[in-house]
Every structure is written in structure tokens, then in C-alpha cells.
């Protein structure tokens, strides 16, 4: 039976607050003996999910809630906001050649999350967005 640790954080919408969550990931990983290399991509995933919730939810008073559940083998990143929601399928796939020369250089978060995670689920409606990312660590 492998040990599972859970860290929950409810973040206010202020600059760089996602670093609190990353410090948490680091501590969980150290405890379970997971190397910095393996946790690196998990940090990118968490960062992108959290900054989207902070920036795009559109409700400044409500928090962004995060749950990390980690075992030696697997990390589940759950990020929930209580904002306006969006339709993930209608977000255009970013391509660097098309971005160059335009003013729209952003739009990489979802692509990074889809490519780096081992599984991704997005539930979004007018009450907010829940994103669940799975990252294998073993």
C-alpha cells in the first residue's frame, strides 16, 4: 500500500500566488522521495491551470481552489474556479509560425497542459471551471 498525501489550498487572486502551490508540490515531492526532475513538469501543469483560473475566471472576490493528491506513482492536480467558464473545444490550437508577426502571442496554456499531462479533464459551465490533470511520477 503506498502512502498518499493531500494538500488543499484556497488562493486569493493576487500576483504570483501560484508560487504557494508550487512550494506545496515541492514539499509533497520531497516527502515522497520524488526527484526534482520528475516534479518539474508537474509544476508547469499546476502553474498553467492556476494562472488560467486566476486570470480568466473573471470574478475577483472568489478564490481559486486547489487540491494536490500525490503518491510515489501519481499526482492528481485539481483546480477549480467559480468564474464565467469557457468552451475548451473552441479554443484554437496555437502554432508558433502563425503567432509570429501578430499581436496575439499568448494562448499556450491548454496546449502545454494537454501535451505534458497523462490525462486531462475539463468541466466548465457558467458556474465555473474544474480542471483535473493527472501526471504519472513513476
Amino acid at each position: 500500500m503506498s502512502e498518499s498525501v493531500e494538500l488543499k489550498i484556497s488562493l486569493p487572486k493576487i500576483p504570483d500566488i501560484e508560487l504557494v502551490a508550487l512550494e506545496g508540490l515541492q514539499r509533497l515531492a520531497s516527502h515522497l522521495g520524488i526527484s526534482d526532475d520528475k516534479i518539474g513538469e508537474a509544476k508547469i501543469l499546476a502553474t498553467e491551470a492556476i494562472i488560467n483560473a486566476l486570470e480568466h475566471a473573471g470574478v475577483d472576490e472568489l478564490p481559486v481552489d486547489i487540491v494536490f493528491t500525490m503518491t510515489k506513482k501519481r499526482l492528481i492536480i485539481f483546480v477549480q474556479d467559480y468564474g464565467k467558464g469557457f468552451q475548451p473545444d473552441s479554443v484554437e490550437e496555437p502554432i508558433i509560425e502563425k503567432k509570429l508577426g501578430t499581436n496575439k502571442k499568448r494562448g499556450w496554456g491548454l496546449k502545454l497542459m494537454r501535451t505534458m499531462s497523462d490525462d486531462i479533464t475539463i468541466e466548465s459551465d457558467e458556474h465555473g471551471t474544474k480542471i483535473t490533470l493527472i501526471k504519472n511520477l513513476a
Binding site: 500576483p15 504570483d16 501560484e18 508560487l19 508550487l22 512550494e23 526532475d37 518539474g40 513538469e41 509544476k43 508547469i44 502553474t47 498553467e48 494562472i51 496555437p94 502554432i95 508558433i96 509560425e97 503567432k99 509570429l100 508577426g101 502571442k105 499568448r106 494562448g107 499556450w108 496554456g109 496546449k111 502545454l112 501535451t115 505534458m116
Partner: protein
């Protein structure tokens, strides 16, 4: 525990070497571009960005770096990233940055590549 962004830069063998410290977020990305622009306006088109002391980046910060690529393409310049954490290297790779920029283990190897 401080991860607040700052950078320093040197010019070496006709290359502008930018060394970043801390989180490359929105603000960090803008500062890198500002530092690049100062060098570029003085004619520097060989650029090395050393991310050894930046263990965390986000996609907003990195998207600013596309401005550097655009300007260098016009002048046939060259951009080489060094000291990338594996996860950051993967991020750049997914974004397609290495279609337009290179990466090297260290500043020395980056500067050596500039002649190629």
C-alpha cells in the same frame, strides 16, 4: 524563498548574454524583452539567454520571447537558450521555440555556436 524576478546582462564576444533569476512570469518576460531591445538597438543580434537561476516559468512569460525571435529573424540574428531545466526545455519544445532558436548546455557552448 524569494523568487522575485530580476536579471543581469553582459556583452561577450559580440553576444548579448542575459541571465535571469526567479520566476519568468508576465513581468519577467517583459523585462527580458526590454533588456534584449536595449542591446538590439545597439546592433547586437547574437543573443544568449541563460535560465540557470529560473526554475519556474509560465506560458505568458515565455510568449513574450516570441518578440525577440521576430526581431532577430528580420536581422538574421541568432538566439540560444542555455541551462534549461528539463521541464522548461520540454515547455519550449512543445511551444515550437526550437524551430527558431537553439539551446546549449552552457553560455560557453552557446557563444561557440554563434559562429556556425
Amino acid at each position: 524563498m524569494s523568487t522575485d524576478f530580476h536579471l543581469d546582462s553582459v556583452v561577450q564576444d559580440d553576444c548579448l548574454v542575459i541571465r535571469t533569476f526567479g520566476y519568468v512570469n508576465n513581468m519577467g518576460g517583459k523585462e527580458i524583452v526590454k533588456c534584449f531591445n536595449e542591446g538590439f538597438d545597439h546592433g547586437l543580434t547574437k543573443i544568449v539567454i541563460n535560465l540557470a537561476e529560473s526554475k519556474v516559468v509560465n506560458s505568458i512569460g515565455i510568449s513574450y520571447l516570441l518578440e525577440i525571435i521576430e526581431k532577430l529573424m528580420d536581422k538574421k540574428g541568432k538566439l540560444v537558450f542555455t541551462n534549461l531545466e528539463p521541464a522548461i526545455e520540454k515547455t519550449f519544445s512543445i511551444m515550437g521555440l526550437f524551430h527558431f532558436a537553439e539551446h546549449a548546455a552552457t553560455e560557453e557552448t552557446a557563444i561557440a555556436k554563434m559562429g556556425e
